[in-house]
Symmetry: C2
Subunit: 805 residues, 2 copies
């Protein structure tokens, strides 16, 4: 058992390491060479194109300006400067609301910590059971501040129970206010958005196959009949997974071609060559530029054929479609109603944003979805409770005897005692570490198999799975000894009232463990987050070995969005810890407050300077956050009930029984009051936006705007690249590309800009150095491409029908 | 423990009593005096107006035709003669689908019984544990045919497990087929109906109060803005509960007036008189006819004032409204979508049929509904598990000592030993019997407090509560000893795996009890149902003492609908018994089959000849029936799992674990596949019906049709009575009344006919005998009434706005 002194030492270590991280960050971030790691967001939105430079060759890599070293901690006030509405504009509502979770933590636990420290600590200390009666036992100092110190049957438990009531009401009040605020932020955000494709579009799944009729025909007939005057057009969904693979391959080849052309330009005396064998390691040596051009040409033929096949073959048209309406009202009605007599056909739902769609899963036949869901929920259950079994198996294989058998030549080395003890200590842990490292990826793959069609939903589902894992294996697993599987077994064979008692009684004993956990994972971990050590190393490694073109540089720099599947569950674990311990061992609360404050600073900085959300779900994750804090309250009440029942506080314990019922009632009320704002789109809102639109800009051609919005992005980007290339080739200014018709059809201006700028930048760099002799060959290829492309557009248009607006 | 012989005797007794009931029924039903008890349905639909008569004064009461006595069992083939579609036309879809539950029982348990008897009984008998090893113990013969007879660890359990799988698949297959059939019957039924008010109307609740604006104004503005071109008109909901009380009082007085006038007509020498004191028992003696006329006049003034008050006072307008649309499509859209940004305002839902509405609950403010739901669910829980506590309390009060204290004068009587023993045996049971007798009424009152606005929903909710009560107190209560409260206590302190084991192990032992239960409650009880002993006695008692006018006769005859709140739960209990025992003690199945067959005959007869449904929910109860049979499957699987685990059949038991998962998956699939047909109205269907309508009858004035459909029936009937009275008074033929404008506005032709005919019949009988001298006074009253009525109509119209169709 840790004494207060031990906790102090641990705190010191962790505070020092956190400071070391912060210091390292402060120094590293002002080096120009790291600029793309610590400020990628500004590159992406186009406000910065190259690192700040302090002159000279060295200045390109190292910051030589002494002044900036003196103000190296100025990122903290900078991070707070941006107002919330600016953050919404800069990084989207998801990020802004994500930051609100941290302030919610501060708002909830701040007053609770003060009240608990002022009231409960004196009450607990004055109890003195442990101090007087069990001096000979090993009792932690922390325990003297906790509820364990109260004598059984004491009337002081009334104070704890009334505090639990008070704190629950406070948490619920803050939750209510926050839910209200987030819901209205969401509605305002949606209302302030301009015309967006997803507002007019509904994803229809399970379109029935009628023999002798194409899916497109069926969709059009059905919606023209059942939504006359409102149906506008639709976009069929193609199974383009194979095509996407080919496009990725072509991009890779194009990248190699660019690389070789750059190389040739720099050293024009020698044309680059490569071998044609595996990975260019052996075989005949050929001219690289010609080789890649040839390869790309072959691939383009394949692509054209594949494209034709997709568009001609009715089997590649999935039984799903994006149906667009001429008003938001029409789309809202279609998304919320049942269309067909057979409720498993013509399933309608809001279409996610085009950039949010996970295209691969649109190709999953709807029938297999429920089977997939069942299989995945069983697997998650197994993963949560039985994950130790395969790891123990791997561990038993990976012991020394196993290693000697597999690799007898290592025997002399292994027999060396130093190596032996090192391996014995290290190998069993390695399997577990590896497993925990790949766990988020594994959970994401499981969510993908479940078949959700939006990236945002995938991330939310992965986060839910991760939360269950943490709840069982980190929280319960730390409190109750034994593996999760053993716990499950014990739970099944205990009476239901015994379970909260058994867990409740160990809760106060584990306070020191969780305090250490908060300091390591929360304090030092968050400081590590801002340092971005892994991305920093990977970026520089990539820069050294992989980056060949500007496109590669952009890829290496790409920070992705905030890692919701990992961040949200661990955040919710802190809420759980705080809520469970707020009455039991209130000394834990200040540690949690420090975590929330530090994490708020760090993530505010990261959201402003680093992360770039791939989609905008308008805070769709909030109901989950709310629901899990409510679940934490329930867990805390049950455990307190169990704990008190072991203290034989029979006269006070029954008072607690009403609390879970009240909490559940509150949750149900919130669900009714706010959740529809996250699931449905009220007709009132749709109608008022429609009326606004009609008043302001009546002559925009909505159909043209929506026509290509939900085309598979592979077709899209391929098209755009070609358009840009053709223009550049004709010596037009590259910025014309961003005004190409494809932008009109792009649903999200920010996304379109990003995409085009990236492409444009790449094209400029590439084609401005292109040597003239190859122009004819290229010209031919472009012509071929554009023909193919026109053919392709023509085919597509024949698949898009509907009324004119 | 009962032997096979005991069961035989019990069967004989029950078969004999069932036959006695059937015989009594066969004899009583052909007596003209009972005609209105056994064939009320034919009177109600107007196909019979007076009992068949076999001539003479005696023939009016007793059947003198010998021939009919010889064919007295011909009701059975007669009951089968009507085809299902004829039953739907005759008695509605609810009744037709209700009968299908019995055929479903036969279809499920018929093949299962054959398979179980052929396969399992031989297997069980050959086991012989009980026969050889425990001859000295008291072992029932029935047990030798059950799974108890199998030796522990026997491989024969594989046969039982595979039969459980087989039977589960069979039950699921039949359930699937039946759900499919019922869903399509429902859709066909809805599609075949003509224009009905509820297809065009949506019930809007929680209309927000805007200061300075009436609810009607708000409703109109809101729906004109958000459903333009589709909104037609609306009907405000008034809190007319006080008015309804006054109308009921007026009807009572009118009845007394009619009675006295009839009396005066028969004995015109003496005008009837009465005393004005309490219940006419003392006080001054006055002329009855004048007295009631005066009273009615006073009441009419009050009614007119109350009416004015309701229409003028904004407080009597509830924040709810019936909003009608000009197409089914518009109503379907409005009912299924969220209207307002605040999801707790403007809640829309399908309006129930006008005659299905429980008007009183429309006056409940929506806010209190969730609180009511919480309170009622807690009370139901308490009722189910703790109902023995108050009864034990009452029992302890109602013992002999208590009685002697309260009524000392009874002491000599009580001390007499015969009376004493009788009372001691009788009194404690009386409280329980009384409780069980009032239980359905109690549950119905609880459902009414919950605040559902449709009678059909009220009955379904009451049925659900009754089912929980039966499941815990009849099924579990018979298996596990002790009261439900003790069981709950035991369950909370047992491990979850121990519960099915404890129950499972007692299952086979209770087979004889349940066989007896089936014979008493199922066989004799159902035969009692067809005899209608209670309604018969009550009808004749009423006829002797209360019936004064034709209106009273109609009331005394009214059979009501099938008593779903009691019938459905007991029916589901038989499914539960059959499914639980199908593998454990298959000898129980034939008894259940006899029940289903007999009950099918009886209820078919009753539905055709007796019951008159008050509403038509189009089989909305089916998902509950389906769900509870699934629940029975799950209970059966769990209990078998528990039972086998006590038999140490460790190698076979794990095979059963997959079955509950498969069953739940099946249930979820059915829910997705069929349940929306019972909850939502597909747009495809709405649109096709709209198109049909437009093609066939384009010039009907929909607005006039819908205008009064959802007016509080109290206003309605009051109006109609007056219209009829005015006509009759002007010596017009009474059948004109049924062509009055009020019928056009009546939503249900069947209901309207019934209502008008009843009223018309009454008016004819009454006014044809009216003496001329009073004509002037009446004329004045009618004029007053019609003025009031016109005023009233005018006021109402000023509350109905909307576009013309």
């Amino acid at each position: 058992m840790a004494t207060l002194g031990d906790i102090g030492v641990s705190a010191l270590i962790n505070i020092l390491s956190a400071f070391a991280f912060l210091l390292a960050f402060a120094l590293l971030r002002i080096q120009p060479i790291n600029d793309r790691v610590y400020f990628p967001k500004w590159y992406i939105i186009g406000k910065r194109t190259s690192p700040r430079n302090w002159g000279g060759v060295v200045g390109k890599f190292v910051n030589l300006n002494i002044k900036t070293y003196l103000t190296f901690l100025n990122w903290m006030p900078q991070a707070l400067k941006m107002s919330e509405s600016e953050i919404i504009n800069h990084a989207g509502l998801d990020s802004a609301v994500f930051l609100r979770i941290y302030t919610l933590g501060l708002k909830i636990f701040g007053p609770i910590a003060i009240a608990a420290l002022l009231v409960l600590i004196p009450v607990n200390v004055s109890g003195g059971t442990l101090f007087f009666l069990r001096r000979d036992l090993v009792v932690s100092d922390i325990d003297k501040l906790s509820i364990s110190n109260i004598r059984p049957k004491s009337y002081k438990f009334f104070i704890h129970i009334s505090m639990e009531y008070l704190f629950t009401f406070w948490v619920c009040y803050m939750l209510y206010k926050e839910y209200d605020r987030v819901a209205s932020m969401r509605l305002n955000f949606l209302a302030s958005q301009g015309k967006r494709a997803e507002q007019f579009t509904v994803l229809v799944r399970n379109v029935p196959h009628v023999s002798g009729r194409s899916i497109s025909d069926s969709v059009e007939t059905f919606f023209q009949r059942n939504h006359p005057d409102r149906y506008l057009c639709h976009q069929a969904v193609y199974n383009a997974n194979k095509f996407a693979r080919l496009v990725r391959k072509r991009n890779r080849l194009q990248n190699w071609l660019d690389y070789n052309q750059l190389k040739f330009e720099r050293h024009s005396e020698k044309r680059p060559t490569r071998r044609i064998g595996f990975l260019g390691l052996w075989g005949e040596r050929v001219d690289s530029i010609d080789f890649y051009k040839e390869q790309i040409k072959n691939l383009d033929t394949k692509l054209t054929m594949e494209r034709q096949k997709i568009l001609k073959d009715p089997k590649s048209v999935m039984s799903a479609a994006f149906v667009s309406f001429n008003s938001r009202w029409g789309a809202a009605v279609c998304a919320q109603t049942q269309q067909s007599k057979n409720p498993t056909l013509w399933l309608t739902n809001w279409a996610p944003e085009p950039r949010d769609i996970y295209w691969k899963n649109l190709a999953i036949p709807f029938l297999s979805l429920s089977m997939r869901k069942l299989v995945i929920s069983l697997s998650v259950f197994a993963l949560v409770f039985f994950y130790m079994i395969p790891i123990a198996f791997v561990q038993s294989l990976a012991n020394l005897e196993g290693l000697e058998k597999v690799a007898p030549f290592l025997r002399p080395l292994i027999e060396w005692s130093f190596v032996k003890s090192f391996l014995q200590g290290f190998l069993p842990g390695l399997a577990l570490k590896l497993f925990l490292y790949i766990l988020p990826t594994l959970l994401m793959i499981m969510s993908k198999i479940e078949g959700h069609v939006a990236v945002s939903v995938l991330e939310r589902r992965a986060a839910a799975k991760y939360y269950y894992f943490m709840l069982v294996n980190v929280f319960l697993g730390s409190i109750v000894t034994g593996t999760a599987f053993q716990q499950l077994h014990a739970f099944l064979h205990q009476s239901p009232t015994q379970i909260p008692r058994n867990i409740g009684v160990s809760i106060p004993m584990k306070a020191t463990f969780f305090i250490t956990y908060i300091m390591i994972d929360g304090w030092a971990g968050i400081a590590g987050e801002i340092l971005r050590l892994k991305p920093l190393v990977i970026f520089h490694l990539k820069n050294m070995f992989i980056v060949k073109t500007e496109r590669d540089l952009d890829k290496a720099m790409d920070p992705g969005g905030v890692d919701f599947p990992e961040t949200l569950p661990s955040l919710q674990l802190y809420f759980l810890l705080g809520i469970v311990y707020m009455v039991v061992t209130p000394i834990l609360l200040p540690f949690i407050l420090v975590f929330f404050a530090l994490a708020y600073f760090v993530y505010r900085h990261q959201v402003i300077n680093v992360y770039n959300q791939q989609y905008e779900s308008a805070a769709a994750f909030w109901p989950h956050v709310h629901g899990r804090i409510i679940a934490s309250l329930l867990i805390s009440q049950l455990l307190l009930l169990g704990l008190l029942s072991t203290k034989r506080a029979a006269n006070s314990t029954p008072l607690l029984v009403a609390l879970p019922i009240l909490t559940l009632t509150f949750h149900k009320y919130c669900k009714n009051r706010f959740e529809p704002a996250f699931r449905k789109y009220p007709l009132e809102e749709a109608m008022s936006k429609d009326t606004q639109d009609r008043a302001s800009e009546s002559d925009i051609d909505l159909k043209a705007y929506l026509a290509d919005a939900y085309l598979h992005p592979i077709f899209h980007s391929f098209e755009e690249v070609e358009l840009v290339e053709v223009r550049v080739d004709k010596n037009q200014a590259p910025h014309v590309a961003s005004a190409s018709p494809s932008e009109l059809s792009s649903p999200s201006p920010q996304y379109a800009t990003y995409h085009n700028e990236e492409e444009a930048a790449h094209s400029v760099q590439h084609y401005e150095v292109e040597p003239p002799p190859h122009e004819t060959a290229y010209q031919y290829q472009y012509e071929f491409e554009s023909t193919g492309n026109n053919l392709f557009r023509y085919d597509l248009e024949s698949h898009q029908h509907g009324y004119h607006y």
